[in-house]
């Protein structure tokens, strides 16, 4: 390992540790936690070093097996990939602290299976953000999906059925993407993203190009649960084992959004994707619709986790809409929101994991008076809620700022209204829960005596990542400036 292939090792270490976990974990459970945390910590450090290097020196590249691109597969690290690597590794590390505890409680005796799939999933996610080859992207997409199918199916109750549903829908998405790549291959004869970007504009095949773009994008939309292709998500994420949900919910959809950004920016080039204004307009309208529907559907849920999954659907609408606004502010907001939403979702799902660990359920009825039982957890929940609503100085406010600004710039008032309405609905959603947790049930009356329920806070294994994430929400919010200037600004194409 040296300076030029650190990013490969960031991918490989989790993969190898998955193998090690499976073999050694069978013998004794004690091997699992150090291996998971160790390999993820290595990934975190590696990603940060790579990020620093990319900001200083520019893009890195690595050719696998020494087959020169465009024939060989290449791994490319540009500022956006580096940012995603840091994000994935940090989120995975924080989530794994909590997952170790959850899995201990929910899947006793099968932790090594769980964490094998977990680590392969993370390795797959790293691969997704690193790859510079279109077909390799399909393979890695399926790797991540397959492990997710497995992780979800390990849950109780309807989990297996939800997982099967996800398999069917996810495969449709992946096949559509594959079809899109097929068209690209027929048109250009190459699968390397940079090469495609070079060749595609010179061809004169508007119909075929449009079909290719459409298939690939729709495929990715199914994978990221863009309304109305979202039906698999609420069941899959709420039935999954808690430990799986904590890591999958923040990451999977956001990485798929990143893939869409990558495909549009580096492979298809924005000029081609946005040639027909009416298509972009249509997508923004669809995104506005997705935002509203996701938020409204969340209102009807009686369970905190399901509510959060519908909010994820709405957030995906934010990001897709932001990109198709086709201006600098929209794109900035979208990329910023990938980072911010991952952190916010992580914070909220960590809260869910802590509550389930202690009381086994997160139905709204069971959350009454929870502020008293788990004050630190709920304090972090409040911060996460503020971020989702968009209260400064949490990070959620700043990505909304750019998205709304992009909407105003582009004259897309439906998007602006959808964003504002969604913030208001989020306020209602979260304050409903804060009220329930703060006041307890209405029969309690005046609380002038000592508290009726005692403190039963989550274990510190689950509490520390939670508190850290909550603090990160504000830190990342205040560091939006440097983040945009040093990383995101470099990704905006000229002319936006």
């Amino acid at each position: 390992m040296n300076a030029t292939n650190l990013h490969l090792f960031v991918l490989v270490v989790p993969l190898l540790s998955a193998l090690a976990i499976n073999l050694l974990g069978r013998r004794s459970r004690q091997w699992i936690a150090p291996m998971v945390l160790g390999s993820l910590a290595f990934s975190v450090f590696g990603s940060i070093i790579i990020m620093a290097r990319v900001i200083e020196h520019g893009n890195l590249s690595y050719t696998v097996g020494n087959w020169r691109p465009p024939y060989g597969i290449e791994l490319v690290v540009d500022p956006l990939s580096a940012l995603m690597m840091v994000l994935i590794s940090v989120v995975a590390l924080l989530a794994s602290f909590s997952s170790l505890k959850s899995v201990e409680q929910e899947l006793p005796g099968r932790e090594h299976f769980f964490f094998t799939l977990y680590m392969i999933l993370i390795a797959g996610l790293f691969g997704l953000v690193l790859t510079g080859d279109a077909f390799n992207l399909y393979v890695l997409l399926e790797i991540t999906s397959i492990t997710t199918y497995g992780l979800i199916a390990m849950g109780r109750g309807r989990a297996a059925l939800s997982s099967f549903n996800y398999i069917i829908m996810g495969s449709i998405g992946a096949c559509f993407y594959l079809l899109g790549i097929g068209y690209i291959y027929i048109l250009t004869g190459t699968l390397n993203m940079a090469d495609i970007a070079r060749i595609l504009p010179t061809l004169n095949a508007p119909v075929a190009t449009a079909t290719a773009i459409a298939f690939a994008l729709v495929g990715l939309w199914v994978k990221m649960a863009f309304f109305p292709l979202h039906s698999w998500l609420p069941n899959a994420y709420s039935q999954a084992p808690t430990g799986a949900g904590t890591m999958v919910a923040p990451l999977m959809t956001k990485v798929t959004v990143y893939l869409m950004v990558r495909v549009i920016l580096s492979m298809y080039t924005p000029a081609l994707v946005f040639t027909h204004e009416w298509i972009a307009q249509g997508v923004v309208w669809a995104a506005a619709f997705a935002i509203i529907c996701g938020s409204v559907l969340a209102l009807g849920q009686k369970d905190l986790r399901r509510m959060l999954t519908y909010i994820i659907v709405a957030e995906v609408g934010y990001m897709v809409g932001g990109i198709f606004l086709a201006n600098a502010n929209g794109l900035t907001g979208s990329i910023l929101h990938i980072v911010n939403d991952a952190l916010m979702t992580l914070c909220l799902f960590l809260v869910v994991a802590a509550i389930i660990y202690r009381q086994g359920s997160v139905s709204l009825v069971s959350l009454q008076g929870i502020f008293r039982r788990m004050p630190i957890t709920m304090a972090a929940f409040t911060l996460g809620a503020f971020a989702m609503i968009g209260v400064p100085p949490t990070c959620g406010f700043f990505s909304k700022w750019y998205l709304i600004l992009g909407g105003i710039d582009g004259g897309h008032w439906e998007f602006v209204i959808a964003l504002v309405v969604s913030s208001l609905i989020n306020a209602v959603l979260f304050f409903r829960i804060i009220e329930l947790g703060y006041f307890g049930s209405l029969q309690d009356g005046d609380h002038h005596g000592p508290p009726s329920t005692e403190r039963h806070e989550a274990p510190w294994w689950m509490l520390s990542p939670l508190v850290l994430t909550a603090v990160l929400l504000i830190v990342v919010g205040l560091s939006t400036g440097p983040l945009i200037n040093n990383v995101i600004r470099l990704m905006i194409p000229v002319g936006f």
Partner: protein, 129 residues
């Protein structure tokens, strides 16, 4: 009318793939039995694989196994051999498809063990109760 028939006959392989894809799609969405949905998914994937493979075909092309030194010297005429790349890509895709099918079958086993049936409506009924 002539034009349409001509079109279909000339590109008959693509039309077959479209038909296969639609059959698979229908099975995935329309059928109530979970196993049939899975088979539908397989058919869908197969049609795409066939589509890809057919892009490598060349009229009169032979098997792409050539002498190494001849290739390095540049003496191989690309038009005389079938394009091997789509085949290779599709091997990977087949592997992916097989893995997904394997996982799906395992999940189906689990479902069967839990509900005793693989019919979607019966399972939903059991869940309601």
């Amino acid at each position: 009318m002539e034009m349409i028939v001509d079109e279909i006959v000339a590109k008959y392989n693509y039309w077959i793939y479209v038909v296969l894809m639609m059959i698979g799609f229908y099975a995935m969405i329309g059928k109530r039995n979970l196993m049939k949905k899975l088979i539908g998914m397989n058919i869908f994937q197969t049609s795409i694989i066939l589509f890809f493979v057919s892009t490598g075909v060349k009229k009169g092309g032979g098997i792409p196994i050539v002498d190494k030194y001849q290739a390095l010297a540049g003496n191989v005429d690309a038009a005389s051999i079938v394009n091997p790349l789509p085949h290779v890509l599709m091997l990977t895709a087949i592997v992916v498809g097989v893995s997904v099918t394997g996982v799906a079958l395992a999940v189906l086993q689990r479902i069967y063990r839990e509900y005793g049936t693989l019919e979607e409506d019966e399972i939903l009924e059991k869940l309601q109760r």
